[in-house]
Amino acid sequence: MSAALLIDILLWGSVAAVGFIAFQRGRPVLVASLREGGMDFINIVPRIALGVIGSGYIAAVIPQEIITGWLGPNSGWLGVLTAVIAGAATPGGPVVGFSIGAVALKSGGGMPQVIAYVIAWALFAFQRVILWEIPFMPARFVWFRAAVSLPFPFVAAAIAMAVGKP
């Protein structure tokens, strides 16, 4: 897909740009940051291997119909709450989360519920918090951020309910 290629180009372009700035600051700066980045990479890759290669199995054993059945348009705030819990519990990468959202939408899920689901999943899907955020960032910050994010799927659902479907 060309969008993915574009993002890769942007990503490596940014790396080259900040790398060049580091290079201009002098060799020691460049070497130090290369070593720092390389060590981070070596430390993180095994975790990501487990996460990416393992999440397929977790996703395969979660029955998607169960998740989508609870998100109907008449489910109201209870449906939103269910959606938020389901979003937090959804394992796997972006394909899984968005696919469930798409299935929910197609099988008659309500817009506020599906929005709450996607946003909850994006903000604090349990597996991603553990696999991606904890390895990269200070744990205290990660839990703090997740806790602070809790109200926002509900806020988004409220906005969606107030504005109505476009």
């Binding site: 580091a22 990479f41 990501i48 990416v52 395969a60 054993v61 394909v95 904890i134 200070p138 988004a156």
Partner: protein
């Protein structure tokens, strides 16, 4: 927010510059990894019982390719984070993204998260780097939430093709105010949880 500097926050002077970058990441495989490993093993066992060895292999091969595609981006993300931590001047970052940066800091964090290329492998190392060079929790939360909800990376690569354009645009419009709100809430809670901040 007032200009009155808290004594302990943002030591923007010479003295602070000598300290090494606060440690992060380097910790051995912890309980969270063990938990996930167990979960994966149990799930793989269930898949084996349901679909046999072909089912297990099919998922393994598919995810292995996925992993292969991600690894270079992980490297790019780690390098980006390391370079940014190295070249960003501490005093400037703590002025524009620190605890005293006000709404402007939250907006800068939000804008930064929205334009940051790449996936979690970029956003999280960069967030960690920002924290290390003087950004506060509020601005960093705004950045992470903004990257998650209104960043174009995930939306273009995954959400648009799977969920469709209507839903994606609608969802992003609704999400626009959330990063600033989350950052503001984060700051509000942080100041009350850790009053008279503790040395970093």
């Amino acid at each position: 927010m007032s200009d009155q500097p808290l004594k302990d926050s943002a030591p923007a002077d010479d003295a602070a510059d000598g300290e090494p970058r606060p440690g992060h990441i380097r910790k051995p495989i912890g309980w969270s990894m063990i938990m996930i490993a167990v979960l994966v093993a149990v799930s793989a066992g269930l898949v084996y019982r349901r679909d046999g060895i072909e089912g297990v292999l099919e998922i393994l091969i598919h995810d292995f390719w996925l992993f292969g595609g991600i690894v270079p981006r992980v490297l790019a993300g780690c390098l980006l984070g390391a370079f940014i931590a190295e070249i960003l001047p501490h005093d400037k970052v703590s002025r524009s993204l620190g605890p005293e940066s006000g709404l402007k800091g939250l907006l800068i964090g939000t804008a930064f998260g929205a334009i940051l290329p790449g996936g979690p492998f970029t956003a999280y190392p960069v967030a960690s780097a920002l924290l290390a060079v003087g950004a506060d929790f509020g601005a960093t939360i705004a950045m992470v939430v903004s990257w998650t909800l209104i960043g174009y990376g995930r939306a273009v690569a995954w959400e648009l093709p799977i969920m469709g354009t209507d839903f994606t645009l609608w969802r992003i419009v609704i999400s626009l105010p959330l990063p600033v709100l989350a950052g503001a809430l984060g700051r509000f809670v942080y100041v009350r949880m850790y009053p008279k901040n503790i040395s970093p």
